[in-house]
């Protein structure tokens, strides 16, 4: 199915995206537009290709042995699979947050400072400090960790760790943030904090989130795409997907009548 929007608000657009892992095709001709400064949720059963698609958006699949990509993904009209494009620079523009909170085993400060350091975003120490503080504040974590920036990031609670990872992603001021099931390892309260954060981040960032939790997709996203067996089955406004989906498979999945 073709899910495209005729809107000048398009931030990223994927066309005819096919991905295969060692000969096994995982995505089939996916066309999808991601709108500027909105939250797009990718849902679907396990192995449907939603994470694969997400990882195509910042070329995280590059490092996976035997992964072959066809098609095109554009950000602001520029092809990210252009061989001339610098992947490192791309990842500074498109940040990523992972399923399991994965702070570096370093201090909270170093965790956040790392990105700006390797990209040279801060001219001196005070600028770096400013970046760290702003990122933590944007991630709603500053109040909780202000007095222990030098303590290890791994000592935080699961929810705080995940927000630390989001802060780390924000620190390089990306335009797009990809989130791969960011709340699947968190308890409901921590999840609520992260969801609230996602909602706030929408004002400044374009967010794509993969989630297994449909309520979460319904709560945080403006648009939802349903993947099944490597195909994009349905894409539309979240409220439409969750109240009256058009496709039988979407209906079955979101109401719990699958398979």
């Amino acid at each position: 199915m073709v899910a495209t929007k005729n809107d000048n608000q398009i931030k990223m657009s994927a066309r005819k995206v096919c991905v295969s892992y060692s000969g096994k095709q995982a995505l089939f001709n996916v066309d999808l537009d991601i709108l500027h400064q909105s939250v797009t949720a990718l849902i679907g059963p396990s192995g449907c290709g939603k994470s694969t698609f997400l990882r195509c958006l910042n070329r995280m699949n590059d490092y996976i042995e035997g992964c072959i990509f066809h098609g095109s993904v554009r950000i602001d009209g520029k092809d990210i699979y252009d061989p001339k494009l610098d992947v490192v620079e791309l990842r500074a523009r498109i940040g990523m947050v992972f399923q399991k909170p994965n702070p570096f085993p370093k201090s909270i400060y170093d965790n956040i400072a790392y990105g700006p350091q390797i990209h040279g975003l801060a001219k001196d120490k005070s600028e770096l400090e400013e970046i760290v503080h702003t990122s933590l504040e944007k991630a709603g974590l500053l109040k909780e960790v202000k007095d222990r920036l030098q303590e290890p990031g791994t000592g935080l609670s699961g929810g705080q760790q995940q927000r630390l990872c989001i802060a780390r992603a924000i620190a390089v001021s990306p335009e797009v943030i990809l989130m791969d099931e960011p709340c699947s390892a968190l308890d409901p309260i921590a999840t609520a904090h992260v969801e609230e954060l996602i909602d706030e981040l929408r004002d400044n960032f374009t967010i794509v989130i993969v989630t297994h939790n449909m309520q979460q997709a319904a709560r945080v996203s403006q648009n939802t795409a349903f993947f099944h067996l490597g195909n994009l089955v349905e894409y539309g406004a979240t409220e439409t997907i969750f109240t009256s989906p058009q496709d039988e498979r979407t209906q079955g999945y979101i109401t719990g009548r699958f398979g």
Binding site: L90, F98, F104, I118, R168, V172
Partner: protein
């Protein structure tokens, strides 16, 4: 209740509890047997180890003590008023040997014949002369005074005192000598002291003068060379293979070869060293440099395998996190993966080094087995290594070398235990939890 529970199962209501409890008993019995077997095997291993170490201590501990003769020696007047004129050459013009002989003879005024005198003088080691000479050189003011000094006894006296040999007219201590010794013991002239020479001397033909310093320095230099080569090479190879190399037939082949190399008998590495480093490159025979290179080759596979395991155990989430922020593959490895893997790598390296430290065979092939008295000053000096020294002493005919062998083994074992302990502590200290 139970009826509905058992619906569809072939088992009958009555049999159920009985079958289960019978099974459970058998299971518990099997568990218990397994535990007992495990404890037994550990006991066997530990008792063997204790037997070995106990045996070594039993045999070798006496080597840490040395027998001395307490003699009062009257030194001649100082003929050199200017202290600056005193040099070893000048000092050695004095006949220290005769001073010692005279002092000893004073204890036995009844001895007159030349033969007996010669037998008597044999009680003192030739090393005593040099000790006295050194003492006077250090402190020339002693000249002209009568001093009490400890003269090192010969190995035969030492062994006789320790009860390792008995007096025998055909043997190394004659009945006559033994009587003199007994008298000296009664007079309190014979003393036993901590054997410092064992740790400060190089090898010697005289067991009472032989020490392990030369071999230890040799081992140390060899290890330095080996580690300086094997560590960076091994880690670099491991990083490349684990993080960057594509998975294909060639890397598979390399992998198989590395594993194979780890299992190659060490003597083969010695042959390689002999043929390539000595034969082809013409490097210095018996030098720690060659030994180190050979041991580095031998340790390399161990280091690579341990490093790869350590690198592989760094969770992929850390790699993903760094990659996701925009770190290049090189930065991912150097900033994140390697620091986390270092404890594991070091542990592997220390264990590899410990193995190399105890290695004898390859060193035999490249000539580090020579009798070398001097303490090596650099990696190109001729040297020997601790295990080789042990091997050499074990081959020596003198009874006194038996305890030296055991003592050197004890020292080597202690060093190995310290290294392995270090590896364990390192692992414990830097172990990270993700």
């Amino acid at each position: 209740m139970t009826n509905t529970l058992l619906k569809g199962f072939p088992i009958k209501e009555g049999e159920r509890t009985e079958t289960i409890s019978k099974r459970r008993e058998r299971r518990y019995a099997a568990e218990k047997r397994f535990k007992i077997l495990g404890i037994l095997s550990i006991l066997v291993a530990i008792s063997t180890l204790f037997l070995l170490i106990g045996n070594m201590i039993n045999k070798g501990f006496s080597a840490f003590k040395q027998t001395y003769l307490e003699l009062s020696i009257s030194l001649p007047e100082n003929k050199f008023p200017n202290e600056k004129q005193i040099s070893p050459n000048v000092i050695s013009e004095l006949n220290f040997k005769s001073f010692l002989k005279r002092a000893l003879l004073k204890k036995f005024p009844e001895i007159k014949s030349r033969r007996d005198k010669r037998l008597l003088y044999k009680l003192i080691s030739s090393g005593a002369t040099f000790d006295l000479q050194d003492a006077v050189f250090e402190n020339p003011k002693l000249l002209g005074k009568t001093i009490t000094t400890l003269a090192i006894a010969s190995d035969d006296v030492d062994q006789y005192i320790k009860g390792n040999i008995t007096a025998n007219n055909q043997g190394r201590i004659t009945i006559k000598q033994s009587k003199w010794i007994d008298k000296l013991v009664d007079d309190g002239v014979i003393n036993q002291k901590f054997n410092l020479k064992f740790f400060t001397n190089g090898d010697s033909r005289e067991p009472e003068l032989a020490g392990i310093l030369g071999a230890t320095i040799g081992s140390l230099l060899t290890m330095l060379v080996a580690l300086a080569l094997a560590f960076p090479l091994g880690v670099a190879a491991a990083i490349y293979l684990e993080e960057f190399a594509p998975k294909n037939r060639w890397t598979d082949l390399v992998e198989v070869n590395i594993s194979n190399l780890a299992a190659v008998p060490s003597i083969v590495f010695g042959l390689l060293g002999l043929a390539v480093f000595l034969g082809f490159f013409g490097m210095h025979r018996s030098a720690p440099l060659v030994g180190g290179v050979v041991l580095a080759l031998m340790t390399l596979p161990t280091v690579i395998i341990a490093s790869r395991a350590a690198l592989g155990s760094v969770p992929p989430s850390i790699r993903e996190a760094a990659t996701g922020i925009g770190a290049s593959p090189m930065q991912v490895v150097l900033h994140h993966v390697l620091p986390l893997a270092i404890p594991g790598i070091l542990t592997g390296t220390i264990i590899g080094a410990a193995r190399a430290l105890g290695e004898t065979a390859p060193l035999l092939m490249i000539g580090m087995v020579a009798f070398i008295v001097d303490i090596p000053q650099g990696i190109n000096d001729s040297a020997t290594a601790l295990p080789v020294q042990i091997f050499l002493w074990a081959d020596s005919p003198e009874r006194a070398f038996v305890e030296k062998t055991a003592a050197a083994t004890l020292v080597l074992l202690t060093v190995l235990i310290i290294m392995n302990l270090g590896a364990v502590l390192l692992r414990k200290k830097f172990e990270r939890r993700w």
